[in-house]
Amino acid sequence: MLMNNENKKKKELIDTVLKKYRAEMVVLKRRHDKVIIDFLETLKENKIEEVRNVLKNL
């Protein structure tokens, strides 16, 4: 029984870690997406010429 309690506690601690990790990831994923979305917005604004310049410098 004692062993079970210890494992239960481990599980709770892991969940705490996971919750915090997930919260960080939500923010990071959104930042990540935002960087890409901003670029897409640039495309949306018809800045093809800029992209072409980028291509030339690749």
Partner: protein, 568 residues
């Protein structure tokens, strides 16, 4: 361009971190807690891996918003973007490392105690955690039927409602075709709020109040950390147009990309060799395929559809080469890290004696003997014939064309491109009639509401950059003797619904283009792919029974490109 780490890239398969069933908490054994910790660790690895690789992240985004990876790839080269992504990657790796270390400490028993400060997120993140978990997503969010939603874990599903025995049931159908049923709407809404579903497409905008609920909540987060709650429909539409306008640019980008890969020494076949062996005269590769007397319409249609894909050249040139003696070395699946080498000798792409000559065997319904003395390869360029032979040899051990008759388009594609690079995407309207103990194969117009939504989405967003597709016609009604005889004599053609065009029953065609504006589908008969056939969406749905396609996993392609590069 910063090259991502191979160890991270090798485990980017997205897996859900499974929750431990609460009922098992009462009796939690050592084995179970270990299993749980391992599942969490693997989940963290997989999830953080996706965001820790720059190319991977970009390709993932391309997959989600249906824009070519080349255009997105350029973002990396643009000043500032690569740096921003690298910074985020570093943080992702940091968060994953801290969490994994903490779990390892917990499991070793070191950290159990009140004073143990496990992991506290940085203050800026803590502030954001509150904003993103409770403050932004609307508490009154309700799911609408007929719409497609993407959850914050990236999973896409369509919602439908069906009434059974007077009771409403709600279904969520995933891209893979898997279904979940909800007996009450509240549970579904609760799940949607928990996973912060965002609308991708559907009829809900017209229904009024939902629009307000998915509208971004502004001013609640710092500008830099603000959640990107753009209007996805609008953006997708703009990107589609952009893609059309930018077609020459995309081609230019593809050529540049190929040059970069050329520089890395990834290709086995030169551009000149590719042009020589995969073109027929002055025609492009895809224009000259003609299925001969082997009943492998699925394979020919699949190879034709594949040859239309912008990824075709890349995959072929990395994995096939012609040796000086005229034989070929083909690594199958193409551009796959676990590929095996298949050698095709010159005689294996020629006509062969038919082992089933004058025998009665499958396919002719057992009525007629097989009168074919020889079995002939597809009439096409040498490279295409090699690809056909390699598919047969890869699957059946030798180039025996008789054994390779029939089959399905996606299976051929999976053999050629592998289950990593290609993901199966198929839809069928066949139904089993239990009373009569037989299958019926009506048109796609008989699909259920939710499956029809999938089909419409597939047609409306069809992009050869993303999909490689074959489609199969309906079967003749074989309960009629006249049809049995027609089929036995190979006269199984019928007039398409709402058109005078003739189609062959139980036959595979390649789907090569969809015009979203005019709602016209372009297909080709593998008997002669130089004559494209056009149909309206409705005619198509009434004439065809199956979509047998694959979705290209661009992220995997890039990853495998990276692995090959490392090996070289």
């Amino acid at each position: 361009m910063k090259s991502p780490d191979t160890p991270i890239l090798s485990r980017v398969e997205e897996k859900k971190i499974t929750n431990f069933p609460e009922r098992e908490l009462a009796d939690i054994s050592d084995a179970k807690i270990k299993q749980y910790a391992n599942a969490i660790l693997a989940g963290i690895d997989n999830e953080s891996g996706v965001y820790a690789a720059t190319e991977q992240g970009v390709a993932e985004s391309a997959k989600n918003i249906n824009v070519s990876q080349e255009i997105l790839g350029l973002a990396l080269a643009e000043n500032g973007v690569a740096e921003k992504l690298s910074e985020i990657q570093a943080q992702v790796i940091g968060a994953a490392t801290v969490a994994k270390a903490a779990i390892a400490r917990i499991m070793s028993g070191v950290t159990i105690g009140k004073s143990d400060n496990i992991v506290e997120p940085a203050p800026a993140l803590q502030a954001n955690e509150e904003n993103v978990s409770d403050g932004v997503f609307p508490a009154n969010f309700e799911v609408q039927t007929g719409a497609r939603y993407r959850a914050n874990n990236g999973v896409l599903r369509t919602i439908s409602r069906e009434t059974e025995n007077g009771k409403d049931r709600y279904y969520e159908t995933f891209e893979t075709g898997e279904k979940n049923v909800y007996l009450n709407k509240e549970k579904l809404d609760e799940m949607a709020r928990k996973e912060e579903w965002k609308i991708e497409s559907g009829n809900v905008i017209a229904s009024g109040d939902l629009k307000e609920t998915v509208e971004p909540t502004k001013g609640t987060t710092e500008k830099d950390h603000a959640a990107p709650r753009w209007d996805l429909l609008e953006l997708t539409e703009a990107l589609k147009k952009e893609k059309e306008h930018g077609a020459p640019l995309i081609r230019e980008a593809q050529e540049r990309r190929n040059k970069i890969f050329e520089g890395r020494g990834v290709f086995q076949m030169s551009k000149e060799d590719f042009d020589q062996h995969f073109s027929k005269g002055s025609f492009a590769v895809h224009e000259g395929l003609k299925q001969q007397n082997v009943r492998n319409c699925c394979a020919v249609a699949a190879i034709h559809a594949f040859s239309q894909s912008p990824s075709f050249e890349l995959m072929v040139r990395t994995s096939m080469r012609r040796l000086p003696d005229g034989s070929w070395e083909v690594r199958l699946p193409l551009l796959d890290k676990d590929a095996r080498v298949i050698t095709i000798a010159p005689n294996e792409i020629q006509s062969q004696k038919n082992p089933g000559f004058l025998k009665k065997h499958g396919g002719m319904e057992g009525i007629m003997p097989d009168f074919r003395r020889t079995l002939d390869p597809v009439k096409a360029s040498e490279g295409i014939r090699v690809l056909e032979a390699a598919y047969i040899k890869g699957k059946f051990g030798q180039v025996n064309r008789l054994s390779a008759e029939f089959g399905s388009g996606y299976d051929v594609l999976l053999q050629l491109g592998g289950k990593e690079n290609f993901l199966e995407y198929s839809l069928k309207s066949s139904v089993y009639i239990e009373k009569e103990g037989k299958w019926e194969h009506p048109g796609l117009n008989t699909l259920s509401e939710s499956n029809e939504l999938f089909l419409n989405h597939f047609l409306e967003t069809f992009d050869p950059d993303v999909y490689i597709a074959t489609v199969n016609t309906k079967h003749l009604d074989m309960s009629k003797l006249s049809n049995k005889i027609r089929e036995a004599f190979g006269l199984s053609t019928y007039k398409g619904s709402g058109t005078n065009k003739m189609f062959v029953a139980r036959h595979a065609y390649s789907l090569t283009a969809v015009d979203k504006q005019t709602k016209i589908v372009t297909i080709a008969n593998p008997w002669d792919t130089t004559k494209p056939i056009t149909l309206t969406f409705q005619q198509f749905k009434e004439t065809f029974n199956t979509v047998s396609a694959v979705r290209i996993h661009h992220a995997k392609l890039l990853e495998n490109m990276n692995v090959i590069h490392h090996e070289e």
